[in-house]
Every structure is written in C-alpha cells, then in structure tokens.
C-alpha cells in the first residue's frame, strides 16, 4: 500500500505531469474508470487556474480571443505551476511567459499589456498608507533637502513600454465606447499606476523628466540625484510642480534623511 507521501507524489505526477505511472490502479473503478476520475481532477485544475488567469488578464483575453487565451493559459499553467495555496498569487509570470510564446510573437505589445494588468492587480491588493507628513517635510533645512530620500506609496508603480499600452488597455475595457483604433506606431509610454483614496486605479502618462524623477527616487537615489536625472532626461522639466503633484496625490508617502 502506498504511503501518503507517495500517494500524493504519484497523484501529482499523473495529474500535473501526465506521467504513465499506473496511478489509476490506486483508484476504485466503480462505474467510471480510474483514468476518467483522474481526468476530472486534471480538468478542474485547468478550469480553475484558467479562470484565475482570465480574471487577472481580461485585456489579454480580449486581444487574443477566448480560444487562444485558453490555449496560452494551458501552456502557462504547465510551465509555471501554482506555488501558493492563495490563488491571488497565481499568474505573476504571465508577461514573461508571453515574451517567449511563439504563437503570439506577432503581437509584440502583449507582454507589456500583461505587465500592466499584473501591476493593476498588485496595486488592487497593496497596503494602504497615510499621505506624506508635509509639516515634517517643511522642517527639513534647505541645505539638507538634497539628502532627502522618498518612498513611493505601496499602491503606486512605474512602468514603461515602447508600445501604446495605455491606449490598448483603455479601448479594451468592457465599458469603453468610441473609436477603438490603436495606432501601434504612436510610440511608447511612461506610466504611473496609482490607487486613489476611493480605490480607483489610475494610469497616468508621465513626461520623461517626471518619470526619471520618480524612477530615481524609487531606486533609492537622494533627492538631489533624482533631480539631476530628471533634468538630464528633460531639460525643461518643472521639478517643483511635478514633485508637489506626486506628494499631494499620494504617490510619494514618506521620507528620511541620509547624506551620501
């Protein structure tokens, strides 16, 4: 008789890997065969995980169609098995998977759209955070301001793509009305994804300087360094306006002083 550990390993080999290990012989064949009964568990898992991917990647699903999506999902599920009992954590490698998924190679923007949808999900569940303490910030002496380090809101993320992924995402929303045409030659985009106080998630297009400023802060650069990078990326950037905007809208939520 199989020990419990072997039974679970053999079940997994039969159901996940399609191994011909004779495991159907461990199942009582009353009415339906053991093989048929195992197939039910194989199907249930595929349906559950595919449904989870569809819920996370609705725009990818619309872009490629249900049948193609299910095919891609089945390949993904086999290549990247679920590693958590919490289904909300499943699907984080889908963008990476799509990069090398040759049947979708012609849709070059697909991985970046998937990345945007995964970020949407991460932000949906991200921690709440109170806004930046403006009074405390005002206490920092002018000569130390360059040494300030800022931390982004847990529900804020930066992303960029050489493709117009925001336009693609917008025209593929269920409630979108209007011209659905997307000009793929329109160029790339830099985005801030941010969850607002009412839990709405916004994708804000950023100019090069603004994006560089936030990226540098996000990487842990001091404020002075971040400002230099922003000016390099975009000499006419209005640093004070864009900094205040991101503090006020809660994209930057805390700070500390650390001299270089």
């Amino acid at each position: 008789m199989l020990r419990l550990r072997e039974l679970q390993q053999d079940f997994a080999a039969a159901v996940l890997d399609g191994a011909q290990n004779g495991f159907e012989g461990q199942i009582q064949a009353v009415g339906l065969s053991g093989a048929r009964r195992l197939q039910i568990y194989r199907n249930n898992r595929l349906l559950n995980l595919t449904a989870s991917l569809r819920a996370t990647y609705p725009v990818i699903c619309r872009l490629v169609g249900d049948g193609f999506f299910d095919y891609a999902a089945a390949q993904y599920i086999a290549a990247y098995p679920s590693r958590s009992g919490d289904l909300e954590e499943f699907g984080g490698d889908f963008a990476r998977f799509l990069e090398t998924f040759t049947p979708a190679a012609a849709l070059v923007y697909l991985p970046d759209v998937a990345q945007l949808e995964w970020i949407y999900r991460q932000i949906f569940y991200a921690a709440d955070h109170p806004p930046l303490d403006l009074a405390a910030l005002a206490q920092v002496p002018a000569e130390q301001q360059g040494d300030l380090h800022f931390q982004r809101c847990p529900a804020a993320r930066l992303l960029q793509s050489p493709f117009p992924i925001l336009r693609i995402w917008q025209v593929n929303q269920e409630d979108y009305v209007g011209d659905a045409a997307v000009d793929l030659t329109a160029g790339g985009i830099k985005l801030l994804a941010l969850r607002r106080d009412n839990f709405e998630i916004e994708f804000q297009p950023l100019a090069a300087g603004e994006f560089s400023l936030l990226s540098a802060l996000n990487e842990g650069c001091a404020f002075a360094v971040a400002c230099e990078r922003a000016l390099t990326a975009q000499p006419d950037v209005d640093l004070s306006a864009c900094f205040s905007r991101h503090v006020l809208q809660g994209a930057l939520v805390s700070f500390y002083l650390q001299s270089a």
């Binding site: 419990l4 098995p81 009992g85």
Partner: protein, 292 residues
C-alpha cells in the same frame, strides 16, 4: 416573537442559527447598499490576505453589520508538505483583525513538493492519513489559538487504499483534535451519488454536538458513455434532493448556521438571499412540526 435583526439579539460576534451567504467581490456594492436580510456572511480567507485596498475595507464595513465566518480553501491541511507558515500567519492576522465567529478548513490536501493544485483533493482514508491529518489540525489550531471546523469535501474518486468510511474519519479527527465539523450537505449528496453510499446514513453517523455549520450549494452533472459524475461547481441553485437532505439534517442537528455558497456564474445577490430564506423556511417548518 417578532423578527429582529440577528445583531440586536446576539451582538456582532456570534453566528445565529440561521442562513447566511458567501460574500464575493461581485456583490460588494450590492451588499453595502442593500444590507440584505441574512443572518451572517462568510468569505474565503485567502481573498483577504492582501495588505490593503478595497477587499479589506469592504470586509471592515460589512463586519460592523454582520457576524462573520472565515472559510479557507488553500491551507492544504492534509498535505505531507510542511504547513505553509506564511499562509497560516496571514490567516492568524486576519482572525485577529476581524474576530470571526467561525474559522473553517477542508478535509483534503492540495499541494505536494511545493506545487499547488488550488483544489480540494481527497485523502486516502487510512490510519496513516488519520494520524497525519489530526496532527495537522492540532498544529493549525495551536498556531491560530482557536478551534477550527473541518468540512467534508466533494470527491470524484475513492482510493483502493481507503479502509475507513469518510464519516468515521471525520468524526475521529474531531475526537482527536477538538475541531468542529462543517457539514457540507451538498458535498455529502455529491459524493454519495458519485460513490454509491447512503447520504442519510452519513448524516446519522455524525454526533449532534460536532456540527457547528452547514454548507449548501449547487452542482452539475457530467455524463460520459460509461456513467455520470456530479461535480461540485457552486454554480447552481440548491437542488431539490439536497434541500430534502438538508431537511433531514435539520431534523437531526436542529437549527445550525447554514451557508448558501455560490462561486461560479454568480447570480444577482437577490438569488442568494432567496436561497438563504428557503433554508430559514425549512428550519421554521421543522420547528413547527416538532412543536405540533
């Protein structure tokens, strides 16, 4: 006695012995706006493991108005894999924050060597599995610092190795661990049809004191040329045969907090509320029958 909101009678902590519904994200707004007349709410624990955002905010708001039950689907209590401490910690934090009246998990396993099925897989009902599962329930209860309920699963296969009937296995686990039983009447019906045992006998085998919650849901029938099998999809209304089995359960166990579970092809909130009212009506009818 005039009907009063459950909270007025019991306070917001305890779960009343009437019907509740499973709260799913698609019903958040409807539940907050309409405050449906159900006795309590149950949510899947894992749906609130996130650090913040709308789900936790909604749960906070509904928790102020309804008693709450946390129902886990991913802890994989029956696996040989070590218990996932991160999962357990998230559950413990959720319990601390929301003070649910009931916390439940399944008589099943779901992962091996770190790979998860995200499904409720049947255990072989052997002495070895009984020892293992009981140890794990004790370990979970120790970490959580409270009793949990264990739910009987729907299953589509039985192992050659199984030597203990499921109902005996479940009762023995409760005896060894002090856990309670979440009796899923639909799962009993589905497994009874799939494996050819007597659903009523299953009910009769469970001691009265163990059952702290009942689940009701709908299934689908998959037909093949060599037979048919019932799949527990939570995608349908409760079927007449399961309502009849529920009536038997009420006759045996008395009024028990009873949940209408619906996960796939979720209908309007009103459909769930109507199902909950049907469950309450059965309890009332049985009370009157008893009094007559």
């Amino acid at each position: 006695m005039t009907a009063r909101p459950a909270l007025a009678v019991l306070g917001p902590g305890l779960i009343p012995a009437r019907a509740g519904i499973g709260l799913r994200a698609d019903h958040y707004d409807a539940v907050l706006e309409t405050q449906p007349p159900v006795g309590w709410l149950e949510v899947h624990s894992e749906n609130y493991f996130g650090a913040g955002g709308k789900p936790l905010k909604v749960l906070e708001r509904v928790r102020a108005d309804y008693p709450l039950s946390l129902h886990g689907v991913g802890l994989s209590v029956g696996s040989i894999d070590p218990l996932d401490q991160r999962h357990l910690t998230a559950l413990k934090n959720l319990i601390r924050r929301f003070e649910p009246a009931l916390v439940s998990e399944h008589l099943s396993w779901g992962s091996v060597d770190g790979r998860h099925f995200n499904d409720l897989l049947p255990l072989p009902y052997t002495e070895e599995a009984l020892d293992h599962f009981s140890e794990r329930v004790i370990a979970v209860q120790d970490v959580l610092g409270r009793q949990i309920l264990i739910e009987n699963p729907s299953s589509y296969l039985q192992y050659v190795a199984s030597v203990i009937p499921e109902w005996e296995f479940l009762v023995e686990v409760a005896g060894r661990t002090g856990c309670g039983v979440l009796l899923d009447v639909n799962n009993i019906y589905v497994s009874a049809r799939n494996h050819g045992f007597d659903a009523s006998a299953y009910l009769q085998a469970i001691p009265l004191a163990l059952v702290q919650e009942i689940h009701l849901a709908g299934f689908v029938v998959n037909r093949f040329d060599d037979g048919e099998i019932l799949i527990d999809t939570h995608s349908q209304p409760v079927c007449p045969a399961v309502w009849a089995l529920y009536r038997q359960a009420v006759q045996r166990f008395g009024p028990v907090p009873t949940l209408i579970e619906w996960d796939t092809d979720l209908p309007a909130l009103a459909v769930l509320v109507a199902e909950a009212q049907q469950a309450d009506a059965i309890v009332l009818e049985e009370r009157h029958a008893e009094a007559a």
